[in-house]
Symmetry: C2
Subunit: 144 residues, 2 copies
């Protein structure tokens, strides 16, 4: 991966993705990945990938990320079992954002909600009530 | 806006958003905004906001951004007329990503497609054919 400018263009060294456009990564070598439930269209989360986590995602069919706060590679569901199976994905017109459509096991959010975007606001910024239930109990899920 | 750490927490100085959580901005004072068509659920684009563009979005009901490449405030649709009216929006559990559900006039992508994510790939990274038509002609739209 070259990393001499911001944003950085790279060509992933994967035979299977020879047609993949050159991705524009941040100076840290990262690209944002939006994750959407394939059937419902609900946006579940956004996380960051580096070249290694994108490569692992394409090779395994399960979402892999790079944690900026922990500076660590992570597989979604490695603790909770709440993996995300890739159905299809897209690169945007600027090649600096990825969108993955997935099958989500359990819920995507560490709080227990299906989506990390459970707190909604109206257009003026007033908080809307949360009308959905949690889909799992995080205390139980992350206890073992 | 304080800007002495990364990520930076700020409280927007808006009366209408007193309940808004403190947002975690990047060192540059930015936060990513995912934009989704409210009716279809299709993800249209991702762009960046700073405090001023978020404030303008909440005050006008139309999506406003910050362009990193041009270092410039921009209103979506200011040239093309393809504005995005905010229906509702969300802050994620980490308060570092925003999701806007909008009514999109015309198309979101400067290429003429409805969504910037028109190029899809299968889970292994093979390119899928583009099966949709452009919703506008960018040469005509951006000519005047």
């Amino acid at each position: 991966m070259t990393n001499d400018s911001n944003p950085t263009s790279v060509q992933l060294g994967l035979r299977a993705v020879s047609a993949l456009p050159k991705l524009k990564l941040t100076a840290d070598g990262l690209i944002p990945a939006i994750v959407q439930e394939a059937k419902s269209g609900r946006v579940l989360m956004m996380a960051w990938m580096n070249e290694a986590s994108l490569k692992a995602t394409l090779e395994t069919g399960l979402m892999n990320y790079w944690s900026r706060s922990r500076q660590k590679f992570w597989i979604k569901g490695e603790t909770s079992g709440h993996t995300q199976k890739v159905i299809r994905w897209s690169v945007d017109c600027d090649a600096d954002t990825l969108l993955f459509q997935v099958e989500q096991i359990g819920g995507a959010c560490h709080t227990g909600y299906e989506s990390c975007f459970y707190q909604q606001f109206d257009p003026a910024g007033n908080t809307l009530p949360i009308t959905e239930e949690k889909v799992f109990d995080p205390e139980k899920t992350y206890a073992h």
